[in-house]
Symmetry: C2
Subunit: 600 residues, 2 copies
């Protein structure tokens, strides 16, 4: 695939590179004395220099003749030199950071290219939002090779999103040079049962000669997996068992082994490589979703590499998984993924293969980070006003908004409650008896059952979904969030109506985010003004604000790990068993709306 993510296309600079390689033109930069990790041959080679010009590698060999008066010579003695790391599947929005801040956070960890799927912003702001992220990415040296969200809305007919993506929208998006493929095709039922919508979205991508990325989360590697792959889907990050990853690779599908902030798949899935000793060219390492705290505390792909070593993967093999294998997955290996003549000079210095500590990073031949610090300016990008004012809720929200009337005359009713399982994706439909107070249904802290509301926030439709959630364990206060997958409507959960109204209004005021309130006071708030999903503050600051918010959760009694993550899945109607969208309660085993009150 033609690469629009380098300083200059090769044919514009090939004469210069040939001249540099042969000592007729001085190199811009020469790296000397490092141990080169050759991902093409899986060797570590010493005694070779790297000569760079016009952002590309001109020579790997003896660069003595390439050094001129103005050549920058970098001494790499004692360092390992790897190609820049590539993350083949990642959602920037999960970090809550803007693209610029995300780039600043990951580049010092050796990441030089990512294949982001802007699925979340697309649900809120559609293609216009995606284009903002593309635009912002151009302000950073990070190569952001976007894939087009494929499943907006996630579950059509059961929720209201800010936009709709169909085959026509995908065909249009594929004309953009910045879009290299299709984002994770989560609608595997649509693919398996040959729905035109899903099949045509994939088809438009294939027609454009771009890459279709996948999401096949069934623990089934027979008929279904074959049908899914046969439909043209090239990679998948949803393996949670070693055999899933292995069977995918055996069928020519890139197995993107995941180690995200919340998804720790690698220990298990790495066995596909370590135990089966297969050719690992179809294996990659990816992060999917990473929180600001993980980026600060652990890093990005460098962290995942360390985990890979821990689980017994050979260091050179592991590095292939974040370089050449990823580049081959996206058919961009002619420009990316190896330290070789003609390739973009995206280069990472490592302290050692044991630590995988990144000491220096070059992108397109420029040193962009050193010792954990970005060394270049990133020109700020201003999101347009419509992108930072995405709270379009029709009706004023007050305590009264949260009144849930019981059937006339009832003293007790049975409601369908969504029971959460801490740090797990599925939930359980639980039937709970609630006593009626003054004709109303209220949160019942003793039973750990809380009123839960979802307000449509994209088109001022006034739609509100009402339900109950069980399992947060809080004894007071309320929480709200606009990170509420995948439609990202305004989700409010609480013990009392006044706090719920405060939580909701706090987020309406700050343009979206996550908040915890108690007794009329805001305990913690993470403002996410960009689409209600992201904030342009630096990762350190965001990590701190998020930590404070987590403390606020604890203060009102919740001991779940990352409770906001679990909360954010309440509306995700493609997951089992019971979910609440702005249109109401959805039985996700049958894809039917169900009433709040169980008729007995």
């Amino acid at each position: 695939m033609r690469n629009y993510f380098c300083k200059k296309p090769l044919w514009e600079v090939s004469r210069t590179l040939a001249g540099v390689a042969q000592g007729r033109i001085p190199a811009d930069t020469v790296i000397r004395g490092g141990k080169i990790i050759n991902v093409c041959t899986a060797e570590i080679l010493e005694g070779l220099d790297i000569a760079i010009a016009e952002g590309r590698i001109a020579l790997v060999g003896d660069a003595s003749a390439c050094i001129g008066e103005h050549t920058k010579v970098i001494d790499a003695a004692g360092r390992y030199i790897a190609p820049g790391f590539l993350d083949g599947h990642i959602h920037i929005e999960s970090s809550m950071l803007s693209v610029a801040e995300y780039a600043k956070a990951v580049i010092p960890h050796g990441t030089t290219g990512i294949y982001p799927d802007p699925h979340e912003i697309c649900n809120v702001l559609g293609m216009d939002g995606v284009k903002c992220m593309i635009e912002e990415s151009k302000h950073t040296p990070l190569k952001c090779m976007f894939v087009m969200p494929s499943c907006v809305p996630a579950v059509p007919g059961f929720e209201d999103t800010g936009s709709f993506i169909g085959p026509n929208e995908v065909a249009e998006a594929m004309k953009l040079n910045e879009i290299v493929g299709l984002g994770e095709m989560m609608n595997f039922p649509g693919i398996l049962y040959c729905g035109d919508h899903a099949q045509d979205i994939v088809g438009e991508t294939l027609k454009a000669d771009k890459i279709v990325t996948g999401h096949y989360s069934l623990p089934e590697t027979g008929a279904g997996l074959n049908a899914y792959i046969a439909s043209g889907i090239r990679c998948c990050h949803e393996s949670t068992r070693a055999e899933d990853a292995l069977e995918k690779m055996r069928r020519g599908m890139y197995a993107q082994l995941r180690e995200g902030s919340a998804w720790h798949d690698l220990q298990e899935v790495s066995r596909a490589i370590t135990e089966h000793k297969v050719d690992s060219r179809y294996a990659c390492l990816i992060s999917d979703d990473t929180h600001p705290h993980t980026l600060i505390a652990n890093g990005h792909l460098d962290h995942i590499l360390r985990r890979a070593l821990e689980f017994g993967i050979d260091p050179v093999t592991a590095i292939q998984m974040v370089t050449i294998n990823a580049a081959q997955c996206f058919q961009m290996d002619h420009d990316l993924g190896s330290i070789a003549p003609g390739k973009c000079a995206d280069i990472v210095f490592l302290e050692s293969l044991e630590s995988m500590n990144v000491t220096k990073v070059l992108i397109d031949g420029d040193v962009v980070a050193e010792n954990g610090q970005l060394t270049v300016e990133v020109k700020p990008y201003e999101y347009p006003e419509w992108a930072t004012s995405s709270m379009h809720i029709r009706d004023e929200i007050t305590a009264e908004t949260f009144r849930v009337e019981a059937p006339v005359g009832a003293a007790e009713v049975t409601v369908r409650a969504i029971e959460l399982i801490p740090a797990k994706v599925p939930d359980i439909e639980r039937h709970v008896k609630l006593r009626v107070k003054n004709g109303l249904l209220e949160s019942d802290v003793e039973q750990d059952v809380l009123k839960t509301f979802v307000f449509e926030r994209h088109h001022e439709t006034g739609k509100v979904g009402v339900g109950f959630t069980k399992g947060f364990g809080i004894s007071k206060g309320a929480m709200a969030s606009t990170v509420a997958h995948d439609a990202h409507n305004l989700l409010v959960v609480g013990t009392n109506d006044a706090d719920m109204a405060l939580a909701a209004n706090t987020l309406i005021e700050c343009g979206g985010g996550m908040v915890v309130v108690c007794d009329g006071e805001v305990l913690g708030c993470v403002p996410l003004p960009i689409a209600g999903l992201m904030n342009a503050k630096p990762v350190e600051e965001m990590s701190e604000i998020v930590s404070k918010l987590e403390q606020s959760w604890a203060d009102i009694g919740c001991n779940m790990p990352s409770p906001f993550m679990t909360m954010a899945l309440i509306p995700l109607a493609c997951l089992p068993e019971l979910r609440l969208t702005d249109r109401g309660l959805v039985d996700c085993t049958k894809f039917e709306f169900v009433p709040l009150i169980v008729e007995e």
Copy 2:
């Protein structure tokens, strides 16, 4: 790269494939019971079926549910099943066979796709000739994924060819779906010294997002090789030493290890893999030039696989080199090169991994060969009249044509003779004293020095190059050939003028070819009416005719192996030291014309 060489594009059949995989639609064909060579993971897997529909693989797994009333079930018990073999660098013209006959010859040996470089016909007939071969290829099931000849003429200014290819012609050619890249860029000096012609030809290919294939024959792996690769050239088949191949792979260049009829590189270059134990994903096996006899006696890629095993390459690794590695080299691995869902059902049955004997071949799901025999009809293709009448020589040729006048009054002169080295590519400039007879210079059989003429045959320019050749060892008769690299003018060598005229006129009459005559009689003749290069007769017949011709050579006293091959290189002015084109003698160390007679 989008693939136009399959029955139907994936997006047109993905619904059917998904339906077949899940047992909702019966497969066209199911292969059961074989041992599948999984080139993605480098494993041999048993107990898996392959379900095929619409020419593509729908499932690799349990296909019980895919078998319907009309499903063809192929029992593969005891067989190994490999993806169809791909030859990444090959000149069909070298076989002297038409595309159809070439396809018929190689398909039964497991070849399902080739990347032909129609360099020879392009020199004679230009793009129109290339298009004829493309058209003919469509009559065969063989996937002929053409690359565009890059160096026509081979040495501009020193010879007359039938056509000229520059950057504009390449840019035009890249618009054709049947052309997937650029043919071997032999003009490495042009690349290294950044000549606009060579660099732009490569640039136009890269702009079109197609693959540039290489030809870097210098025993130099430093500055020059780096400059060559940095210019965007992706693969090279010219390694003759293991270290050449190794250094290419280390620089992200596909090393196409060659085993042709005349070039036996594999024994040496395979050490790059066997001794260095590197990741072999950047290694391929290719044939380059194969004669009809080799195809009959040895086979094609199956033969090269056998050679690879002989030299210690693991069978699965070797099979990767003619399947997935080749497909990845051309960035067509999404459609070709593995037995995996969605891929073209190009499949080879092998008797054993030791013998590599091919027992059955499928292309696009159809059985096309069994037990060495093609099982499908190939509709004949008629070359247009202009393509089969390419002998455009201005002047009538008679015995008098071959008179070489000595300087007036000289009794003896010293001439520059081209001394051949049997079965080697270079020649030597040798200065030979010739006695003048009746004011003329004649062939001198005692010194083994023969008159040699090259007649321009493309544009009736009347140009004739005159020289002497040493080393054929014949004592009588004459030979002529229109296979005379790369301009393919009419080359005549002989002991006497009458036989030389007969040889020349025999070829003019039959539209080109190769001939041996003696004492006014044609001893052996291989007519090559298609562009003076190819014949539409079957390989068996051609092999026989060529054998007879070789016998004729022996009959007049030549004991060289394949003397026609050596003869064909006499005009190839890109090789050292002294060559003869239709424009005269060329000193190929200095790229200067030199006179026949050495001034002393």
